[in-house]
């Protein structure tokens, strides 16, 4: 049965007072390397996003940040940023849950705006991967694995995802080249996105020709860390200061699996149930369905993750998500466009910033300003994930037509 209230602002839909949260300002910056402290990158992003929203730092009453990575020089980052901005927000938090940090910070802000606790929230993230050498990064990664039972085996993040890719191909007889086609699509999409760092017109064969990182994963199927910062302004109500179409946060959802990097015990390593839980929650909150989403900007650091996300969304049968890419169905002009921004693989992947980059890519689509535009996009869905998709956030954004 169609939801007749589909698309209505939640305040009216619910029949009681719930304030809608709108994204009224965005800013992002991304490159291989910035020779600037995290502080300056973050302040620049925040001020630019405030300008877009027609707001001033003194308007900020909520500040929400992923805690910068352990190798960032500056600790207590959110208090430092508040001090430099001259603000004393009612709510302020720094959250660290790996790749979902940005998603959790954003959802905390949405919750406070919806509850009426905050009127002008800033969500900001910064990450510099140029400041950590490979050996130290690997040491950090070993520590996210179970120190006692997993780390002594020497696992890496690609090494774990390589194993879910093995299962994806094994269980669903998925074509290996179809999986690589997803990486080719996203890197090719990024070639049309001036803000992306790793855009390149590529074929699936060229992806499979790149050197192996963790068999069967190839270099061009792995995201490249880089430096970047991003900020969004969330306001209670659409506001008057913004010159462009206000984008409403219509749905939020989260999923947390019983797993620590090795998949759920009772199921396949090639299924990511936290995605299903999170997206179902977000779509229900928005009163809509996956079929009615015009564009997806998921957090998919490896190509089969994007395929499984489309499968968990119910758009495709298990194993068919990769084939759908080959059929062109997830291309920008397909029925279910996925990652027109280039996503993690094409844009570059500072993990604390990536969830915000996904929101911002979605906002660009809904405003009709995306570099690779899905014509007439009115509803977008984004995700974030951490570990081996052990935790997921999902968010639905819409423009009120």
């Amino acid at each position: 049965m169609p939801d007749l209230l589909d698309g209505w602002p939640r305040s009216r839909r619910r029949g009681h007072t719930v304030t809608d949260a709108y994204i009224t300002g965005v800013s992002s910056t991304l490159d291989r390397e910035y020779d600037l402290p995290e502080r300056d990158l973050a302040l620049h992003a925040i001020l630019q996003a405030l300008d877009g929203a027609g707001a001033e730092p003194t308007d900020i009453d909520g500040l929400y940040l992923p805690k910068p990575r352990p190798w960032a020089e500056q600790g207590f980052f959110s208090t430092l940023v508040s001090d430099r901005l001259g603000v004393a927000p009612d709510r302020r938090l720094e959250v660290y849950t790996g790749g979902t940090s940005g998603g959790n910070a954003f959802h905390a802000a949405v919750g406070d705006v919806r509850a009426g606790r905050v009127e002008t929230a800033v969500v900001a993230a910064v990450e510099r991967n140029s400041t950590i050498d490979t050996a130290d990064y690997f040491e950090y990664i070993l520590d996210i694995f179970d120190r006692e039972f997993q780390a002594p085996a020497g696992p890496s993040v690609p090494g774990i995802y390589a194993q879910s890719l093995q299962r994806y191909c094994h269980e669903f007889d998925a074509d290996r080249e179809a999986v690589a086609a997803i990486a080719a699509k996203n890197r090719s999409n990024a070639a049309g996105n001036p803000a992306a760092v790793f855009g390149e017109e590529l074929t699936a064969a060229a992806v499979l020709d790149s050197r192996p990182i963790a068999d069967p994963l190839r270099l061009l199927e792995c995201p490249t860390p880089c430096d970047g910062a991003a900020a969004l302004v969330l306001t209670a109500g659409a506001g008057g200061g913004s010159s462009t179409a206000p984008v409403r946060v219509s749905g939020v959802g989260a999923g947390h699996a019983t797993s620590h990097l090795l998949g759920v015990r009772d199921g396949s390593l090639a299924r990511f149930p936290a995605v299903g839980t999170a997206t179902e929650g977000a779509l229900a909150d928005a009163g809509t369905s996956a079929d009615a989403v015009d564009v997806f900007e998921p957090y998919a650091p490896f190509p089969h993750v994007e395929a499984v996300i489309t499968e968990e969304l119910g758009l495709y049968e298990p194993g068919d998500g990769a084939a759908a890419c080959v059929r062109g169905e997830t291309a920008v002009d397909g029925p279910h466009p996925v990652s027109p921004s280039g996503g993690c693989l094409g844009r570059g992947h500072p993990a604390m910033v990536t969830p915000l980059l996904n929101y911002i890519a979605a906002v660009g689509q809904l405003r009709g300003e995306a570099p690779i535009q899905v014509p007439g996009a009115e509803r977008a869905l984004t995700t974030s994930e951490h570990g081996h998709v052990d935790g997921v956030t999902a968010t639905v954004l819409e423009v009120d037509g």
Binding site: A135, F138, E139, I141, L142, D146, R147, E148, F149, Q150, A151, P152, A153, G154, P155, S156, P158, G159, A162, Q163, S164, Q166, R167, H170, R211, P212, I213, A214, D215, P216, L217, T258, L262, G263, R265, D266, L269
Partner: protein, 143 residues
């Protein structure tokens, strides 16, 4: 505190796993009593399948099948590349991440393996467990 609350362990909860492994035995946990009865790993005070708290140590057959595997060409410091690691699914149920003592090209999903005590493949500070063997999966002839 209720009567149900356990006492603080007087040593690392998982010590018996390592002591048994050093002895060549694979000692995991099994959900007992009115619980689901499934074996699980790593050992801990709550059954991750059903939430049951009546759990007990159980020796299991070290045999299983390779559930998935990879060959890492980029490895953490202290680990030689390439490094073959994978997930062994024991006949008893649980999956363990292990180094694999075999060439990548000799492996397929489903290769019969045994999980046996072995020196860890690289240098990870294991703290007070440093003197215990770690484990690895070794291909075996199919039964």
């Amino acid at each position: 505190m209720s009567d149900r609350s356990p006492a603080l362990p007087d040593e690392r909860y998982t010590r018996r796993f390592w002591t048994a492994l050093a002895d060549g035995r694979l000692l995991l946990h099994r959900c007992a009593g009115a619980g689901c009865g499934q074996a699980f790993f790593p050992p801990g005070p709550v059954c991750p399948h059903c939430g049951g708290r009546d759990v007990d140590w159980t020796a299991v057959d070290p045999g299983g099948k390779l559930y998935s595997f990879t060959r890492q060409h980029v490895t953490p410091p202290g680990f030689d590349a390439p490094l073959v690691v994978g997930l062994t699914e024991l006949a008893a149920g649980p999956r363990l991440l292990t180094p694999i003592a075999a060439d990548y090209g000799a492996l397929t999903v489903g290769t019969p393996v045994e999980v046996v005590p072995a020196a860890p493949p690289g240098e990870v500070d294991r703290g007070d467990l440093a003197d215990y063997p770690y484990f690895e999966a070794v291909p075996v002839e199919p039964e």
